[in-house]
C-alpha cells in the first residue's frame, strides 16, 4: 500500500471509538465498463488539488456552507460537531478489483459506486464509514449516483413508527451508504446523494422525486393525492398537492410530502430546475425527509 494522505476535515466525537463517520476517498481505479472486471487508473489519482477541492465542496454542501444554502439540518449544533469527516488520497495503487470504488455505466454517463469494495478498502487503512463518497475524475462519466445503506438489522437502533409500522434507525450497517461523484460536482449534488446514502433498504429509503418513482419514505403512489402524506412518529405530515412550481405530469402516480419551501423543488427532486437557476443551492427538503435524516443521524451519533 502506498502512503495515503488522510485529512481530518471534521474531528467529530473524539470520545467515541466508533463515531459517526463520513469518508471521502479519491477513487484509485475505475471499473470500465461496470460489471466487466476491466479496470483502469482513475485520473483523480493524478490530481490531488482537484480531489481536495471536491472534498471541501462535499463538506460544505453537507453542513450548509454553500452560498445561499438554506437546508441546514446537518449544521444543527446537536449534529455537526459530532460528525467525523475524513478524506483519503492515495496514488499509485494498481488498477484492480480491490481498488476500484467506482464503475462507469455502459448505458449512461453515471458513475456507480462498487458498494461492497468500500468497507475492506477503508478497513485496510484503519477506517470505517457510515457513508462514503468516492470521487472520480472520469473523462467520460460525470453524473453522480448512490446506493442506500444496508442496515445491520440484528443490532440495535432507535425505533420509530411510519404509518403504523415499527422500524428502526439502526446504529450499525452491513454495507455503508455509498456514493460515486465526479470531481466537478457542484450545488446540492453531494447533499442530494448523501440523503440517498444515509437512508436504508430496510428502514426507510429516500428515493428520487424527479421521476415517477417507486415507493419510498419520501414517495407514495396513487390518485387522487390524499391530503395526508404519512404519519411519522405520531406526527401527521401533509402531501404536496402541486410539486412546487414543477407540477406532477399527468401520467404520474407518485406524489410527495409537503415542502419546507414550496417555491423551490425539494432537494431530492430536480434542483437544477430551481428558478432562477442560480438558486439551486437554496432548495430545501420536504418535511419527512428532513425529519428522518436528522433522526437517523442523531440515532447513529448516540451509539
Amino acid at each position: 500500500m502506498a502512503n495515503p494522505t488522510i485529512r481530518i476535515l471534521r474531528a467529530g466525537d473524539t470520545t467515541k471509538a466508533n463515531p459517526f463517520t463520513i469518508c471521502i476517498v479519491a477513487n484509485p481505479a475505475l471499473e470500465a465498463p461496470w460489471q466487466t472486471g476491466q479496470f483502469i487508473i482513475d485520473p483523480i489519482t493524478a490530481d490531488a488539488a482537484a480531489f481536495d477541492a471536491c472534498a471541501d465542496y462535499i463538506n460544505q454542501s453537507l453542513f450548509a456552507g454553500l452560498p445561499n444554502q438554506q437546508e441546514t439540518a446537518l449544521a444543527d449544533p446537536a449534529i455537526a460537531p459530532f460528525v467525523k469527516v475524513v478524506s483519503i488520497f492515495e496514488s499509485a495503487l494498481p488498477p484492480a478489483d480491490a481498488n476500484a470504488l467506482v464503475a462507469q455505466d455502459s448505458e449512461s454517463d453515471l458513475l456507480i459506486a462498487r458498494r461492497t469494495v468500500f468497507r475492506p478498502f477503508l478497513a485496510a487503512r484503519n477506517l470505517d464509514a457510515d457513508v462514503a463518497y468516492a470521487v472520480s475524475k472520469s473523462n467520460t462519466h460525470t453524473r453522480a449516483s448512490a446506493w442506500f445503506t444496508s442496515d445491520d438489522d440484528t443490532q440495535g437502533g432507535v425505533p420509530f413508527t411510519l404509518d403504523g409500522q415499527t422500524l428502526a434507525h439502526r446504529y450499525q450497517c452491513l454495507i455503508p451508504g455509498t456514493i460515486a461523484i465526479h470531481s466537478s460536482a457542484t450545488s446540492l449534488t453531494a447533499l442530494h446523494e448523501f440523503h440517498h446514502a444515509i437512508s436504508s433498504y430496510t428502514n426507510g429509503s429516500i428515493v428520487d422525486l424527479y421521476v415517477d418513482s417507486s415507493l419510498g419514505l419520501n414517495c407514495k403512489t396513487g390518485r387522487p393525492i390524499p391530503p395526508d402524506f404519512a404519519v411519522y412518529n405520531g406526527v401527521t405530515m401533509a402531501s404536496d398537492p402541486v410539486r412546487d412550481h414543477l407540477g406532477y405530469p399527468p401520467s404520474w402516480q407518485s406524489y410527495h410530502c409537503e415542502l419546507h419551501d414550496p417555491n423551490l423543488p425539494a432537494i431530492m427532486d430536480n434542483y437544477w430546475l430551481a428558478a432562477p437557476a442560480a438558486d439551486s443551492n437554496a432548495c430545501q427538503n420536504d418535511r419527512i425527509t428532513r425529519q428522518f435524516v436528522s433522526d437517523r443521524v442523531r440515532a447513529k451519533l448516540s451509539r
Partner: protein
C-alpha cells in the same frame, strides 16, 4: 442519482423533439436501479411497478442508444 442536467435534456430534444416520453422512461428506469439492495440475500418485496432486473437493463440499453447515439453534447 443526480438529476439530468437541463442542457443534456435540451440537447436530446433538439435532436429528437418527440423524445420526451423516452427520456422520462429512461430516467425512471435508471433511478429504479438503486432502489433494490443488489447484495441482499433474498429479494426485497418490491413495488409492483418495478421491472425485473434483466428486463430493466435490456430496456435501458435500448433507450440509451435511441437517446444518445449520435448526440454530440452529453
Amino acid at each position: 442519482m443526480e438529476p439530468l442536467r437541463p442542457e443534456t435534456r435540451r440537447a436530446i430534444l433538439n435532436a429528437n423533439p418527440r423524445a420526451g416520453p423516452q427520456i422520462e422512461e429512461y430516467e425512471r428506469l435508471l433511478a429504479e436501479r438503486f432502489t433494490t439492495d443488489p447484495d441482499a440475500p433474498a429479494p426485497h418485496p418490491q413495488d409492483a411497478r418495478v421491472l425485473p432486473h434483466k428486463t430493466r437493463e435490456q430496456r435501458l440499453r435500448e433507450l440509451y442508444h435511441q437517446l444518445f447515439d449520435g448526440l454530440e453534447a452529453r
